[in-house]
């Protein structure tokens, strides 16, 4: 059970007014708010143990290194990775995907295929397009249907021995669809393709089990799981991480450097060049511990309630259409009101204290599919309430009256 009063007390930012109204923060898909334990942990790091890691013999460096590696272990446990060196700290999901796509440049040739889906965020399209440009490989797209679900029959037809990589998201950021990735991974493996899962939108809502999923890569961002910005995680199966060349060169990622030849450090350091985001890495562990304390089972039940409640209330507004109507959805509602531009609604509800996202959500192909300029997206977190949904629905109604 979620004790909502207790949880909301953990998030100081929620207790404020914007534009003279109490803040209703429904832009959690863009970034999550931070609980006090996270904010305090950042301060504590800089006040007490700030030092560079993995290189000093002095005490502070040891303390910082220990804290950083404790966090790596916590994340390993969280995603159920087999080894802690399969957890690479990155700057975020985008960085993780680019790391993998860049690495595959050494493994692909003309005639190979890279598969993404119609539901992807630009971050899981563009790195692969760049890869295809470099290697002559072809980008293949898994189509979607009107409910915003992937067409698995078509997916199977598109699969062949030419497909070397399949990159799909766990949950669509624009529509909220939860994709059947376990099935996709299984089928992709049958043709020998590696599978990368963009877990940016899933990580705030569920606990991914990378061994059960059997994915080859799983990327997510710290800031969407109540952690700091500029830190993220790339899980990679050991065998794949050994196959891929380093992404960036520099300190920390080397074993030995001479002008003739450099040998690389072992995993995970091979992919962690330069001084990393130490505070971010440490505090991401704090954030994940916090979420696990709240409990992902509790989060799932509570967010489903919010989603059902908001869906029902919104659909009572005449002319309102929800995009993304799969039965398997995260707490995300993307919608438009007939004849009104999403920006107009977003602007008015902001003045009423409600923060939502408007636009194409970095997923233009989805907007092209529905032939719309964008949507209004409300994305709920476990610290949101039904009362906030009521305020939001009233704000949308008021905007509709003003704008039509």
């Amino acid at each position: 059970m979620i004790d909502i009063q207790k949880i909301r007390a953990d998030f100081p930012i929620l207790n404020q007014q914007v534009n003279g109204k109490p803040l209703v923060y429904f832009d959690n898909g863009a970034t999550a708010q931070k609980p006090l334990v996270v904010i305090d942990a950042i301060e504590k790091y800089y006040k007490e143990i700030n030092a560079n890691i993995h290189r000093g013999v002095h005490t502070l460096s040891q303390l910082a290194t220990d804290a950083y590696e404790v966090s790596r272990n916590a994340i390993q446990k969280h995603v159920n990775a087999k080894h802690n060196h399969e957890i690479i700290f990155t700057a975020g999901t985008t960085f993780g995907i680019n790391l993998v796509a860049n690495g595959f440049a050494a493994l692909l040739k003309e005639g190979d295929e890279v598969m993404v889906s119609h539901l992807e965020h630009h971050s899981n399209i563009v790195p692969w397009q760049l890869l295809c440009e470099r290697t002559g490989a072809k980008l293949v797209v898994i189509p979607m249907n009107d409910k915003g679900e992937l067409n698995l029959e078509e997916f199977e037809k598109l699969l062949s021995d030419n497909v070397k990589v399949v990159a799909v998201n766990h949950i669509s950021n624009a529509l909220g669809t939860v994709n059947p990735i376990k099935e996709i991974i299984k089928k992709a493996h049958k043709v020998g393709a590696a599978v990368l899962i963009d877990g940016a939108q899933a990580a705030p809502h569920l606990k991914p089990d990378v061994q059960d999923l059997d994915c080859d890569f799983y990327a997510f961002s710290g800031h969407k799981v109540c952690g700091p910005t500029g830190i993220g995680v790339l899980y990679g199966k050991e065998e794949w991480l050994r196959k891929l060349p380093p992404y960036q060169g520099g300190g920390e990622m080397i074993a030995e450097v001479t002008f003739e030849k450099t040998t690389y450090a072992d995993l995970p350091h091979k992919f962690e060049a330069g001084t990393p985001n130490i505070a971010g890495g440490i505090v991401l562990g704090t954030a994940i511990d916090y979420l696990n304390e709240v409990g992902f089972d509790n989060i799932a039940v509570y967010e489903q309630e919010l989603l059902d409640y908001a869906t029902e209330k919104l659909l009572q507004i005449e002319g309102l259409r929800i995009y993304g109507t799969s039965e398997h959805k995260a707490s995300v509602i993307s919608f438009n009101i007939e004849g009104i531009h999403p920006y107009d609604i977003g602007t008015i509800v902001d003045k009423l204290g409600v923060a939502v996202r408007t636009g194409h959500h970095c997923a233009q192909p989805i907007m092209q599919y529905f032939n719309i300029p964008g949507t209004i997206r409300a994305s709920f977190a476990f610290y949101n309430t039904k009362e906030e949904i009521d305020i939001f629905v009233e704000a949308v109604k008021k905007a509709k009256t003003m704008l039509s």
Binding site: H341, Y343, T347, K351, G359, P373
Partner: protein
């Protein structure tokens, strides 16, 4: 009326409202009075980059004066471009180029626009001045 006088008039109108809601309602009203661009000009050539909604602006010359028409798929954007067109339309290129746009701040428009919209506003003004510059160069 000179551009300066029109701007003062607009500032006056906006000063009557005490809250943002009324201002927005007025902007929406103004959007409805926008001299609409002909459909044939609603193309990429006439669209303004930097706006998150679509905006098209067209300029014509009549008796040495520039007459603007425009449209947008978002109502608030239509209102904002209507304010600009009311200010600048029917003036000579030189007058348009000489005009300052401080009145935008005075009517409190910018503070009520999100940064993306404010950037769009800057792009619209830039485009209008570009048209003026182009017509001036023609002479």
């Amino acid at each position: 009326m000179t551009i300066q006088e029109i701007q003062e008039e607009i500032v006056d109108e906006f000063s009557m409202f005490d809250d943002w809601m009324q201002r927005y309602e007025y902007i929406i009203e103004l959007g409805k009075s926008l001299p609409l661009i002909e459909e044939q000009y609603k193309t990429d050539n006439y669209s303004i980059k930097g706006c998150q909604s679509k905006v098209w602006v067209h300029a014509d010359e009549q008796d040495d004066k520039i007459v603007f028409t425009a449209d947008s798929d978002a109502i608030l954007t239509k209102g904002i471009i209507a304010i600009l067109i009311r200010t600048f339309s029917g003036h000579t290129p030189q007058e348009i180029l000489d005009a300052n746009t401080d009145f935008i701040d005075e009517i409190g428009l910018k503070e009520h626009l999100s940064p993306t919209r404010a950037n769009g506003l800057v792009s619209m003004i830039k485009q209008i001045k570009m048209y003026a510059l182009a017509y001036q160069a023609k002479h």
